[in-house]
């Protein structure tokens, strides 16, 4: 078929995928979050939020996980387009780990060295490693579907940031349940759980967002 004939077929085709703008990403994440919340409701329960939110360590871990998700979302919103570069936006995703590092230093300063080990190991390490990927999965699925509508030229990077977005929100939900509030616990187990999500997400994105 000659190119001019192919052009005729394309011009006759008025079907198009929907927008891949920030609004579309927000609705995809929202939809995924509904799924995550259902899983959350089925498996875990939030702590008594009115009192917990007053505790700086609890509020801090919620803030760090949300910040991670928000930073990653900004990068995903760029990488969904073929000409999108992660560029300086990817630095936003560094804000969460940096903030967490500051939290760890403060914790080390204010807590007696004898208590470090107990706080780091906590009581819920296994639950954390299992729950975060589980709670991340619906959001991650929605974000990968969103990327499929787009045309990422770096599916590997897009997958990594989709994983950080899903993993960040999964960790946020889990954090609202988990009684281990110490930044030492958060900095040990959360990144491990999220790294698993990121790894899976990268593989999925490279397979599923080809175009």
């Amino acid at each position: 078929m000659k190119t001019e004939n192919l052009i005729k077929a394309m011009v006759a085709d008025r079907e198009a995928d929907g927008s891949v703008g920030p609004g579309a990403l927000a609705s995809a994440v929202g939809l995924g979050l509904v799924g995550s919340l259902l899983l959350y409701a089925a498996t875990l329960a939030p702590r008594e939020l009115s009192t917990a939110l007053m505790q700086p360590r609890f509020a801090f871990k919620l803030l760090v996980t949300l910040l991670l998700a928000a930073g990653a979302a900004a990068v995903v919103a760029r990488l969904v387009r073929p000409d999108g570069r992660s560029g300086p936006a990817s630095l936003v995703a560094l804000a969460a780990p940096l903030l967490l590092a500051v939290g760890v230093l403060v914790e080390l300063a204010v807590v007696d060295a004898a208590a470090w080990r107990t706080r780091l190991i906590g009581d819920n390490a296994v639950a954390c490693l299992l729950s975060i990927p589980l709670l991340s999965a619906p959001v991650l699925a929605a974000v990968i579907l969103f990327l499929r509508k787009g045309a990422p030229t770096r599916p590997d990077l897009a997958g990594v940031f989709a994983g950080l977005l899903g993993g960040g929100l999964g960790a946020f939900l889990y954090a609202s349940h988990c009684p281990d509030d110490s930044p030492l616990f958060v900095a040990t187990w959360y990144p491990l759980a999220i790294a698993g999500v990121v790894l899976g997400s990268r593989i999925l994105a490279m397979k599923l967002t080809r175009w």
Binding site: M1, K2, T3, E4, N5, L6, I7, K8, A9, M10, V11, A12, D13, R14, E15, A16, D17, G18, S19, V20, G21, V80, R81, P82, D83, K149, G150, A151, T153, W211
Partner: protein, 185 residues
């Protein structure tokens, strides 16, 4: 200056196309392919491949531009968007490993090609014919009626005793299948 002018024209044509201007969209796709063809030939030759494959890659790029036109942000320049898509399709076709993909660029001519390479005969329908043959029969008859026989959606619907909606769906699926088969030999 010339680049700005062309990008401006491309952007205008795409905006008109998204408002349903068929003539503008046809012209846009033609102009883009005329612009990309020599650049893609140059990159093929630079990678030690035959420039005769250029038309396949031009067609793949057009298909991707069309099917992924929702990914152009109208507030951003259209040139980088077109180049990114063309580059992606070229890298796919060359099957370059990630590390070498930086060698490929869809930029303006930086060096002129020898004349005989520029004018090599384009065998422009080998790959797409193979892919057409691989389409589901329903999709193939619709795309051939529209692309080759020049029928409209309504005429094709009458010819195949289908509803216009079914013709539209078959056409869209045919284009998506053709695009998905890119680089699969």
């Amino acid at each position: 200056m010339q680049v700005d002018r062309r990008e401006h024209d491309f952007a205008e044509a795409m905006r008109a196309a998204s408002r349903g201007d068929v003539t503008a969209y046809t012209r846009f796709l033609q102009n883009v392919s005329d612009w990309l063809r020599p650049i893609i030939r140059r990159e093929l030759v630079r990678s030690g491949r035959s420039a005769a494959d250029a038309e396949d890659i031009v067609q793949d790029t057009l298909l991707a531009l069309h099917l992924k036109r929702n990914t152009w942000d109208e507030s951003r320049p259209i040139g980088p968007w077109i180049r990114a898509i063309a580059r992606h399709k070229l890298i796919d076709a060359l099957r370059l490993p990630r590390g070498r993909s930086k060698d490929v660029s869809i930029d303006e001519f930086s060096d002129a090609l020898p004349a005989e390479e520029m004018t090599c005969p384009a065998i422009d329908d080998r790959d797409i014919e193979r892919r057409l043959d691989a389409l589901a029969p329903g999709q193939r008859q619709v795309i051939q009626a529209i692309a080759i026989d020049g029928l409209s959606i309504a005429e094709s619907a009458a010819k195949f005793a289908m509803t216009p909606v079914a013709v539209r769906v078959a056409l869209h699926r045919a284009l998506k299948s053709l695009s998905r088969m890119a680089g699969v030999s």
